[in-house]
Structure formats: structure tokens, C-alpha cells
């Protein structure tokens, strides 16, 4: 549990807006342990998504490096990074980002298209993932036929189906009502507890953050220390 899985080393990131250089993250430096369930909190615009995108290999830092499972992903080229993401990252987005023309099952199968699994194995795994999120009765449904909570559960199934090293979730409850949000949070909790998945979740919602094992606050591009969630051990079994 103490081995750091993710090492974020003096990372800085700024965006170019026209001629202006807009700094977003300054000298971020911290580790995330294997099996951690970390919430990144902060007000809107504080750089949470930017940091998460760097960890997920969707973007590259201007300075510093990000080492995940001994791979310095800030050194990878576009193609290598794409392959690395496919193998190591499970994505959960605020707006689900499912393919509207694919059924729940086909959406969950999508990441497996990049593996060498046979058609049958792909199908079996996708069905298992959908069963895990309690959607076995919705496999043939298209996204337009599902509720927000169901959509996010499909997205979670898609995120875990390829058994990734890290699951990243950007405001996973941001678009959901309270009840659906709870369902999603309890699912993430189970993934962490029962399957030992390392999860990094971005949220600006205190309630969501409380579901995580630990919290870091991001304010104006700088990170606070780790705050262990005292209630975590008791607030279980949702």
C-alpha cells in the first residue's frame, strides 16, 4: 500500500491564450499510492481537470515529469501515449462521453477493441463489467434510452473493462441528481475496496469528496497536503 504508484514531480502547466501565457499549475509535487482513492478538490478553474488530464496522459506538462508504474509518461510520444492510455487508464467523464450510436454493451466493449481479445472474450468481459454496475438488463439499450445515472454506470463499466492501472474520474457526479450521484460514488467505493483499484477523482462537491479515502485541495494552481478522510472507515457499506 505504501509503494507510490503515481509520482508527480515538480509539474507545471500553463496554457497559451493568444500571445498570453496563462499559468494553471505551479510546481505540483506529490505521490499517489497503489490502491489509493484520492479526491482532488477545489473551486472551479483551479486546475483540477488540468492536473487529472496530465495524470491520465491526455496532455503533457510544460515542466516536471509524471511517472506511473515506473513509466515516465511525460517522455512518451503521441502514439506510445495512446497505447499507454489504452492499457493503463480507465476514464470516467462528467458528461459520460459514450458513443450515442453504440449500445451499452458496445460502448463497454469499445476499449477492448484495442486488445487482442477474441470477439467472444470481449463480449463476456463487457457483460461482466455491466453486471458489476448492475446494468445486465440494459445491455442492448442506446445511451439516449438511459438515465444519467445509468449512463455514468455504463461509463464506469467501460472504465474498468480493460482492467486499467488507474481510474480517473472528472466530476463523475457533476451532472447527476443526488440519488444517482450516490450510486456512482458507492460503485467507485466498491471498485476501490473490493477490486483494489487506484482512483483519482476530481470534484468540487464536498459530499463527493467525502466518499474518497483522502482529499487534496487545489487552490490557484497550488496543492494542499493530504487530508485523510476520518470518516472513511466507518462510512462504508453504502
Amino acid at each position: 500500500m505504501s509503494t507510490p504508484l503515481i509520482c508527480i514531480e515538480h509539474v507545471s502547466k500553463s496554457y497559451r491564450r493568444g500571445r498570453e501565457e496563462v499559468p494553471v499549475l505551479y510546481d505540483i509535487h506529490f505521490d499517489i499510492a497503489q490502491g489509493e482513492y484520492l479526491a482532488l478538490m477545489g473551486p472551479s478553474g483551479s486546475g483540477k481537470s488540468t492536473l487529472l488530464n496530465l495524470i491520465a496522459g491526455l496532455d503533457q506538462p510544460n515542466a516536471g515529469s509524471i511517472i506511473i508504474d515506473q513509466v515516465d509518461i511525460s517522455q512518451l510520444g503521441d502514439a506510445a501515449l495512446a497505447d499507454w492510455r489504452a492499457a493503463n487508464i480507465g476514464f470516467i467523464f462528467q458528461f459520460y462521453n459514450l458513443m450515442p450510436v453504440l449500445t451499452a454493451l458496445e460502448n463497454v466493449e469499445l476499449p477492448l477493441q484495442l486488445t487482442h481479445l477474441s470477439r467472444r472474450e470481449r463480449r463476456e468481459r463487457a457483460l461482466a463489467a455491466l453486471a458489476l454496475v448492475n446494468l445486465s438488463d440494459r445491455v442492448k439499450h442506446y445511451p439516449a434510452e438511459l438515465s444519467g445515472g445509468q449512463l455514468q454506470r455504463v461509463a464506469i463499466a467501460r472504465a474498468i473493462v480493460s482492467d486499467p492501472t488507474v481510474i480517473v474520474a472528472d466530476e463523475p457526479t457533476g451532472d447527476l441528481d443526488r440519488k444517482s450521484g450516490e450510486e456512482v460514488l458507492s460503485l467507485l467505493d466498491r471498485l476501490n475496496r473490493e477490486l483494489g483499484k487506484t482512483i483519482v477523482m476530481v470534484t468540487h462537491d464536498q459530499h463527493a469528496a467525502n466518499a474518497a479515502r483522502a482529499v487534496r485541495h487545489l487552490e490557484k494552481g497550488e496543492l494542499s497536503g493530504l487530508v485523510e478522510n476520518r470518516t472513511w472507515n466507518t462510512a462504508t457499506n453504502v
Binding site: 488530464n53 491526455l58 495512446a82 499507454w84 492510455r85 458528461f95 462521453n97 450515442p100 477493441q113
Partner: protein
């Protein structure tokens, strides 16, 4: 992966049924119009294409309206490489009304049909025709057009050769090939010649054109040269060319119209290309977040581009299939209307190939720019475009 791309590309058009069906309808109309206009062009040249390369046409070098002495026939026959010869005169009579135009030739009967084996006449009818000085032969389509039957009297009013001609239809020919013109009408040259002797004494024994059968199509140029040299510096100098060139010289008179039709047919394709490009640009812009998501999940950039191309091709090929399927019946309908203008009005295999090709080119050109954008979309910006 290919299955996945096809699955998405085939389902995407259903997301905007109206836009997709309008685009497909546009392609159908464009491909259909393109096919019909190309068929007009083909039909225009069909006469020339049906021409035998073993026939030469000799005419007066001054112009088509000047004739040549009949005595030329024997001299041409003696030319090296010539097998056979016949002659004909343009009759230009009016059948009841000016609008009933059809080509009429006074022909030297046995030799003419020897040289035109593609005009197929039942043997008994042919003998009847040979026996009757006032006899006439009509093409199958022509007879159908006016409801003529063998034995009918065909009254023609002479224009070049004044008079009322009561000809008797003795035979109906059909074309050996579909491209053979079945709208022609032939009467006996001897009969006309007698008439000319009466009304224009001294103008008889003239041939409008000579049709020359040659031994070998490859000798056409040499034989033509020999014939024209033979009559160099004589009262009627000749111009000899292949039957095809002769036919094309008619077509060339109206060649600019044909060219205009051809240009219009391509302009239609360019217009539909713009329509299609607009559809694909709108579609792929709406799907930016999807391309970004696929990239985030680890799919290579080309997958987004392939989706755009596949969808564009799907729309274009569906439209093309319907358009091509409709071209045949439409051409048939038009062909029956225009029977007396074009000997054949059939969609050529080449036209169908061009229709498919045009659809593919339209799809690819329309997809090119949106596909590039789908490929180059920056993941984090593309994901943001959803919100």
C-alpha cells in the same frame, strides 16, 4: 476494428434523418442527372460508334450538297484495296407534315444492302422490294412510329426533287445490333433518277455520296488517299473519309451543344460535392467530442478520419445505388420519347462506371477536410466541446 468503424458509420446517418435523407436525395438526383446527360452524349455519338471501320464515304469536296457523276463508281471500284461500292442520294421528302422528319435515302438496292449487312430484312420482303420500282424499306422503329405495315402506301412530298411520290412499303428492316439506326427510310435510286431526268434534264446520273467497302480497315487512310488522288483536278473533286469520320462531321456541327451538356453533367457533380461537404462538415463538427473520446481511450487518430470517410461513402454510395438503379428506367422512358432523334438511348457500362466513380470522388472530397479535423482534434479541447 473495421467492423466497429462500419457499425458506427452506418448508424451515424440515422442521427439526423432529415439531413441525411436530403443529402442522399441530392446525390440520387445528381447521379441520375449525370447518368442521363452522359447517355445523351453517348447517344449522340452512337451513330459514329456504330460505323464500320471497313466502310469509307466519298463525297464532293466542295460540300455535302454537291453530287458526283455516277461514272465514278466503276473507277473507284478499280482502286487498290476497294472491295465493293454503292451510292445514295439524300431524298428529303415530307411525310404529311414537316414535323414528321426522318432520314430518307435513294439507294442502289442490291449493292447498298450488301455493304450494310446490319440492316436485316426478311428475304421474301427484300425480293418484293427489289421487284417494285416504287418500293421502299423502312426501319423497324420508324414503321412503328407511324404504324406502317408492309404493303402500305407512303406518300412523300418532294422538296429537293419536287413532286408527289406514292411509295409502297415493301420491307421493314431491323438492326443487327442495338446501336443500329432503325429510323431510316430507303427508296430505289433508279426510280429517283428517272424522276430527275424528267424534271431536271441533264442532272441525272449523279450520286450524292459513294459508300466504299474496303478490304482492310487498317488501309482506310491509304485507300482514301488513292481515291481522292484519282479525281484530283477533275470536275468534281472528292473527299474520302472513314464512315466514322463522316458521321462525326455531322455531330461536330452540334458538338458545342454536346460539350455544353458534358460540362453541365460535371457541374452537377461539383455542386453535389459542395452539398455533401457541408453535410460532412456539420456532422463531424457535432461529433468532435466523440472523436476526442475515442482518442482518449487510446484509438489512433486515423480512426476518427476513417469514421468520417466511411460515413461520407455510406451516404454517397446509397445515393449512387438508387440513382444508378433509376437511370436505366429513366433512360428507357426518355429513349422512347426521343426515338426518332437517337437511334439508341441506352445507358453505357462506361456511364455506370463513371457514376460510381463520381459518387466515390464526391464522398472522398467531401470527407477530406472534416476527416483531417477529426484526426487532428486535440483531446482535451475536443472533450471540452461537449459542455
Amino acid at each position: 476494428m473495421l467492423t466497429l468503424i462500419l457499425r458506427i458509420a452506418l448508424r451515424n446517418p440515422w442521427r439526423h434523418k432529415l439531413r441525411s435523407s436530403l443529402t442522399v436525395a441530392g446525390i440520387v438526383v445528381a447521379i441520375l442527372s449525370f447518368g442521363l446527360l452522359s447517355t445523351v452524349v453517348t447517344a449522340w455519338y452512337a451513330g459514329a460508334d456504330a460505323a464500320s471501320d471497313k466502310r469509307l464515304v466519298v463525297r464532293n469536296s466542295i460540300s455535302m450538297t454537291f453530287s458526283m457523276p455516277l461514272a465514278y463508281a466503276e473507277r473507284v471500284r478499280a482502286v487498290e484495296g476497294v472491295n465493293d461500292i454503292t451510292w445514295s442520294n439524300w431524298f428529303g421528302g415530307v411525310y404529311i407534315d414537316q414535323r414528321n422528319f426522318f432520314p430518307q435515302f435513294a439507294v442502289d438496292a442490291p449493292s447498298y444492302f450488301r455493304l450494310y449487312p446490319e440492316f436485316v430484312i426478311p428475304p421474301d420482303q427484300y425480293l418484293e422490294f427489289l421487284r417494285d420500282r416504287r418500293g421502299a424499306v423502312a426501319g423497324h422503329k420508324l414503321a412503328q412510329r407511324f404504324g406502317w405495315k408492309v404493303g402500305d402506301v407512303i406518300p412523300l412530298k418532294g422538296t429537293i426533287f419536287p413532286g408527289d411520290y406514292q411509295l409502297v412499303l415493301r420491307a421493314i428492316y431491323s438492326g443487327a445490333r442495338s446501336s443500329t439506326d432503325e429510323n431510316q427510310f430507303m427508296l430505289h435510286w433508279d426510280f429517283l433518277n428517272e424522276r430527275i431526268k424528267q424534271i431536271y434534264p441533264g442532272a441525272e446520273n449523279q450520286a450524292g455520296i459513294y459508300i466504299v467497302g474496303i478490304r482492310d480497315g487498317r488501309e482506310a487512310a491509304a485507300v482514301s488517299q488513292r481515291i481522292d488522288t484519282l479525281f484530283h483536278n477533275s470536275i468534281a473533286e472528292t473527299l474520302t473519309e472513314t464512315e466514322k469520320a463522316f458521321q462525326l462531321s455531322f455531330v461536330a456541327m452540334t458538338g458545342t451543344i454536346v460539350q455544353a451538356i458534358q460540362i453541365v453533367s460535371w457541374v452537377i457533380i461539383v455542386i453535389i460535392m459542395a452539398v455533401m461537404a457541408n453535410t460532412m462538415a456539420m456532422a463531424s463538427r457535432e461529433r468532435t467530442a466523440e472523436y476526442a473520446t475515442l482518442k482518449a481511450l487510446g484509438f489512433r487518430p486515423w480512426v476518427g478520419a476513417a469514421l468520417v470517410y466511411a460515413e461520407s461513402l455510406t451516404l454517397a454510395l446509397v445515393g449512387a445505388a438508387i440513382g444508378i438503379w433509376a437511370t436505366g428506367p429513366a433512360a428507357h422512358a426518355i429513349g422512347t420519347q426521343l426515338d426518332n432523334i437517337f437511334p439508341t438511348f441506352q445507358v453505357a457500362a462506361q456511364t455506370v462506371r463513371l457514376q460510381w466513380l463520381a459518387a466515390i470522388v464526391v464522398a472522398c472530397v467531401a470527407a477530406a477536410f472534416p476527416a483531417r479535423r477529426a484526426m487532428q482534434v486535440k483531446i482535451i479541447e475536443g472533450l471540452r466541446s461537449l459542455a
